[in-house]
């Protein structure tokens, strides 16, 4: 039996290749994800262990607001110099260094702030380096308050050399320094992990990074020989008391690695999700291929039955064939995945992480196990139905002239309706309650349901689509061919539907989000100018005063943002400079109390937040800010939240205890009759020192927000492209199998005068009909998904429903092009058929 199966496989190499390829691509995605994340994980592992080389323990202040994600820039107040002295005296401590570290961003020669892709941009004091890793490559140490030394990566990115001037943004206003040196790290590295660093003289570092002398960001401790890290940690902790926390170098490295690892894990889940979609589509292709093959081999299989083969043997022969394809595809997919993973890791290291030192490419067990499990399972599962059908072929079919007639569509239609309903219900419940697994399984089940329903709807729909394409005889023939096997056409189209539906759904959600943002901006924000910084850039409160006094500005306000604990709950809140102005410019409506009353120890609170906390005007809450002690505030006003304001706001006085004493956002209203552009031109120069802060009018602001959503859409489209590619393989496969099946018919057509070009046109029309049908289904199902999701996200601020008509039209057009492309090879094959061989083909 196994031999017969192998022979039958080898005899149909094309089929093996195409159906196998769909699994290969899916498995490649799976193993590629694992290899990529594993490699990055180990690279970051070694990065952080090298960052903390020579650090046995580190002392910091305990963060006042707990539960943050360990973001060093927003954490904790500085340490007084006295701690340094105390630690120095602890038994077993060999050396102590007070670290002075803070955000520092260099401005490039083009006037734009230099950016990394995620790695920090830091300033520190040029001091003794306990790790012994830093190497001064050129020049000398910085002295005085006008000199800096640049990290190699920053120097290279910005094109700075010793002797150049460099403008730097820190907690202090922008200042220009002279580059007096460039440093790197052991092993010729420009940076440890793609970070951009600037070293100042110690006094300057204190002033520009921490705002004054005698305080430190942290204290780094090196233990005496033979004293273990945890012993030093415990002794230091005992010496300095409960206001501070001490961690060993190993703990710190692990914490960093873990937090990156969490991110990578999430990233991996996303990739695996898309891999799952690709495999799901691949299963359609396998299913279709096996169904077609079983149908084409009906006579052969019946003959075997007539010669005494059992049902079980028939089934086994099909499943065995699937198993072989699954195993081969898994092996190839796993191998290809290692290649893809390695390539992506390299791309990431080159473009994403600056100069991240890549760990060697490994093959994690998870990749191997999941590749085989998934590849083989998907293939076998998809072959079960065709196998059962093969086993049901009656021996007498060997004697019958035609292949088995079309089976009625009742069963699949009923099952499809049931599945669609189940899927829709699951999706609905999942969306309503925010249960992710219900949402996903609902979508999957709904896809299966719709796929089962497609044969039924294919007839009328295909007739209409085909009608548009059948202006010539080959077109008519192509259209009729696509209506010939409704199931085959339907499954092929359904595979394409999955990808297009998902893209359409996401696109609708994002379009709706953009529409909602626009609506909010137009109906709620009456500010004409919006001043905000990217990547957490901030600006001095004094600048806001100058904005306010700019001619043409009617009113302006701004706010500071930070995390704080309100009644023990960590939340993001704002300190607002001018509540009445905010009320006007944001169109807020107070439901109780008055915005004018928010002063001193009082807060403004959104109605929903107040309700959740069971508070009213006059009630009190405790607020712990980044600095200072916990305080009691009373609620001065409760307002109906809108698209721009929600949560809790404090008066500007509270900002003194925020981590940063600078504003994050500001809004200005232009006096009636003054052109906004004029005022914008007058306001922009106020931020000339701060290139990361932009002054935008309302429409530019909306465009910027929408552009971010477009990036998301682009990523989703790229990741779903593989699912669509697999669906295209499916179209190619179906057409190729049909061409083989209709060899004689094609020969006859050629014999009675059909030209090669006409044969090709016929196949192309068939292909375009199938893919346009799939795209239409996808647009329809995707619209359903999108609308349902938008409905469910109403509370998250997506109040508008928007259809991306142009984009949906593009998807349809792309599907038509896909149809043409998919038809090329089968069409060439059909056109090349030797007429004589074709008609005498048995």
């Amino acid at each position: 039996m196994f031999r017969a199966t192998l022979k039958s496989l080898m005899a149909r190499k094309l089929r093996l290749l195409l159906s196998g390829l769909s699994v290969v691509l899916g498995v490649m995605f799976v193993s590629g994800s694992f290899v990529l994340t594993d490699t990055l994980d180990r690279s970051f592992d070694s990065l952080f262990s090298s960052v903390y080389t020579g650090v046995d323990a580190q002392v910091t202040t305990k963060p006042k607001v707990q539960g943050g994600d360990g973001d060093p820039e927003s954490s904790a107040a500085a340490l007084p110099a006295s701690v340094l002295e105390t630690v120095r005296g602890v038994d077993g401590v060999r050396a102590v260094v007070g670290d002075v570290v803070g955000p520092a961003r260099a401005i490039g020669k083009n006037g734009k702030v230099l950016t990394t892709s995620g790695a920090p941009r830091l300033g520190d004091a040029w001091a003794e380096d306990l790790s012994g890793q830093r190497v001064l490559r050129e020049g000398r140490a910085p002295e005085g308050d006008r000199e800096v030394v640049l990290g190699g990566f920053l120097a290279k990115s910005g094109g700075f050399a010793v002797g150049d001037e460099v403008a730097v943004l820190t907690a202090a206003p922008k200042q220009t320094y002279e580059v007096v040196g460039v440093f790197g790290y052991q092993g010729g590295r420009d940076s440890l992990g793609g970070e951009m660093s600037i070293s100042f003289s110690p006094a300057t570092a204190h002033r520009v990074l921490l705002g004054g002398p005698d305080t430190y960001t942290s204290v780094t401790v090196q233990a005496a020989d033979g004293v273990p890290q945890d012993v030093v940690r415990d002794r230091v902790a005992a010496a300095i008391g409960a206001d501070y926390q001490v961690k060993t170098g190993t703990e710190l490295a692990k914490a960093q690695t873990d937090s990156i690892g969490e991110g990578l894990k999430f990233f991996n889940y996303i990739l695996l999700g898309f891999a799952g979609i690709a495999l799901f589509v691949g299963a359609f292709i396998i299913f279709n291929t096996f169904s077609i093959i079983v149908a084409q081999r009906t006579k052969e299989l019946a003959l075997m039955r007539a010669m005494g083969a059992s049902r079980r043997q028939m089934m086994v022969s099909v499943v065995l064939e699937a198993l072989v394809i699954g195993v081969v595809a898994s092996v190839v997919g796993l191998g290809a995945g290692v290649g893809v993973g390695a390539l992506l890791a390299r791309l990431f290291a080159t473009f994403g992480g600056g100069s991240l030192q890549l760990a060697s490419i490994g093959l994690p067990a998870a990749a191997v196990v999941s590749s085989f499990a998934v590849g083989i399972l998907v293939t076998m599962a998809a072959s079960v139905f065709p196998a059962v059908r093969a086993s049901r072929i009656a021996p007498v079919a060997a004697m019958r002239e035609a292949a088995t007639p079309d089976r009625p569509l009742t069963k699949p239609t009923v099952a499809g309706a049931a599945l669609s309903a189940t899927g829709g219900t699951l999706l609905g419940i999942g969306l309503a309650n925010g249960v992710l697994w219900m949402v996903f399984s609902g979508i999957l089940v709904a896809f299966l349901g719709v796929a089962l329903l497609t044969p039924l709807i294919s007839k009328p729909v295909v007739a209409v689509i085909g009608g548009l394409l059948s202006w010539s005889t080959p077109g008519t023939l192509g259209r009729r061919n696509s209506a010939r096997n409704p199931r085959r056409t339907a499954i092929t189209a359904a595979a394409l539907m999955v990808g297009i539906a998902l893209i359409t759904g996401v696109s609708i959600v994002l379009t709706s989000a953009t529409a909602s943002i626009t609506k909010v901006a137009d109906s709620q924000i009456s500010a004409d100018l919006i001043i905000s910084g990217e990547e957490g850039a901030t600006f001095e409160p004094a600048v806001l005063d100058r904005v306010r006094s700019t001619p043409g500005v009617e009113s302006a306000f701004g706010f500071y943002s930070d995390y704080a604990a309100v009644d023990g709950d960590r939340m993001h809140l704002q300190a607002v400079t001018d509540f009445p102005a905010m009320q006007r410019l944001f169109g807020l409506r107070a439901t109780a109390g008055s915005f004018a009353d928010v002063t001193g120890r009082t807060v403004a609170m959104a109605e929903e937040t107040a309700k959740a906390k069971n508070l009213g005007v006059g009630s009190t809450v405790t607020v712990q800010l980044a600095k200072g002690e916990q305080q009691t505030y009373s609620v001065a006003v409760i307002y109906a939240k809108n698209g721009v304001m929600d949560g809790v706001q404090l008066s500007a006085a509270a900002a003194a205890d925020f981590s940063s004493a600078e504003l994050t956002d500001a809004f200005a209203k232009v006096a009636a009759g003054t052109p906004v552009a004029d005022v914008q031109h007058r306001v922009e120069p106020l931020f000339a020192d701060n290139p990361e802060v932009s002054v935008q009018d309302r429409s530019a602001f909306v465009r910027q927000q929408a552009a971010q959503l477009d990036t998301v859409l682009l990523m989703v489209q790229i990741l779903l492209a593989l699912a669509i590619l697999i669906a295209v393989l499916g179209v190619v496969n179906t057409l190729a199998l049909s061409v083989v099946e209709r060899t004689r018919e094609l020969g006859m057509l050629r014999a009675i005068g059909m030209r090669r070009a006409q044969v090709m046109r016929m196949i192309i029309v068939e292909s375009v009909v199938i893919s346009v049908f799939g795209a239409l289904l996808g647009l329809l199902v995707g619209s359903g998904l999108g609308v349902a999701t938008v409905r469910a996200l109403r509370d998250q601020g997506i109040t508008e429903l928007g259809f991306p008509w142009a984009r949906m039209g593009t998807y349809l057009a792309v599907a038509a092009v896909i149809g043409v492309v998919a038809a090329i090879l089968p069409a060439i094959r059909a056109a090349r058929l030797n007429v004589l061989n074709a008609i005498s083909y048995e």
Binding site: T473, N481, E745, M748, L749, A751, I752, G753, M754, R755
Partner: protein
């Protein structure tokens, strides 16, 4: 020995010294060995011979479906030998019609659409009067809207005949058109081919190994081992059978 038969001045198709060899070296099979034959216009010619004698090959060569290794083939006044795909397609569109043993019709089209398919493919006008004449002759008037699956084998083959005729080609080629039919349906098809020659002056070339089928023809050409060995004009079934027996004996 090469026997050249047929000397009519009006030939619808002509083979001159055609040789066709399949394979090469040890495995080479000479399917046609210097065959020259004239197919007379307006007559029904049968090509007979034992299995493997080269009948189909001769027909394929005459119809331009296969190329020849040496010699020349003409259909009407056009030289077929040496034509490229485009020329051959044009030839098939205008000068020849085919009836195959099986798998003759497109299952997606009705009988009428199948009959008109060559004209549709070639973008030619339908001569309605001629179409009606052909349809009535094959007796399919009430079946025009049916699909092939709804027709009997004999009816399908008659549709195929009508399709071959509707374009008024120089020659209609039929390869064992009755091979898959029962004797009654076969007789209908043969009768129709005969009438189309007699009544419409349609040149018909039919390959068969059935003496009874050959007896419908005006003339029978006998092939053995890739050579033309005999010719009968206005044959009876008995005469054909006799000749065949003689051939089998003589060759064996």
């Amino acid at each position: 020995m090469t026997v050249t038969v047929g000397t009519s001045t009006s030939t619808a198709a002509r083979a001159v010294g055609v040789t066709k060899v399949y394979g090469s070296g040890e495995a080479a099979v000479t399917a046609l060995d210097g065959v020259s034959v004239d197919i007379e216009r307006g007559r029904f010619t049968a090509i007979m011979g034992p299995s493997g004698s080269g009948k189909s090959t001769l027909m394929h060569c005459l119809a331009g479906l296969d190329d020849v290794d040496s010699g020349e083939v003409f259909v009407g006044d056009a030289r077929v030998t040496g034509l490229r795909d485009k020329g051959l397609t044009d030839l098939r569109r205008t000068k020849v019609g085919f009836v195959f043993q099986q798998f003759n019709l497109l299952p997606t089209l009705t009988a009428e659409e199948n009959i008109l398919l060559p004209l549709a493919i070639g973008g030619r006008k339908v001569d309605r009067a001629w179409f009606d004449t052909v349809v009535d002759t094959v007796g399919l008037r009430d079946r025009l809207g049916h699909r092939p699956t709804q027709l009997s084998g004999g009816q399908q083959q008659r549709v195929a005949c009508a399709r071959a005729l509707v374009g008024r080609p120089d020659v209609v080629f039929a390869d064992e058109p009755t091979g898959n039919l029962d004797s009654r349906s076969g007789a209908e098809v043969l009768g129709f081919l005969q009438r189309s020659a007699q009544e419409f002056g349609q040149t018909v070339v039919m390959v068969t190994h059935d003496a009874n089928a050959a007896s419908y023809a005006d003339r029978v050409v006998f092939l053995a081992d890739g050579r033309i060995v005999r010719e009968l004009v206005e044959p009876t079934a008995e005469a054909v059978l006799d000749t065949m027996k003689h051939l089998d004996g003589g060759v064996a």
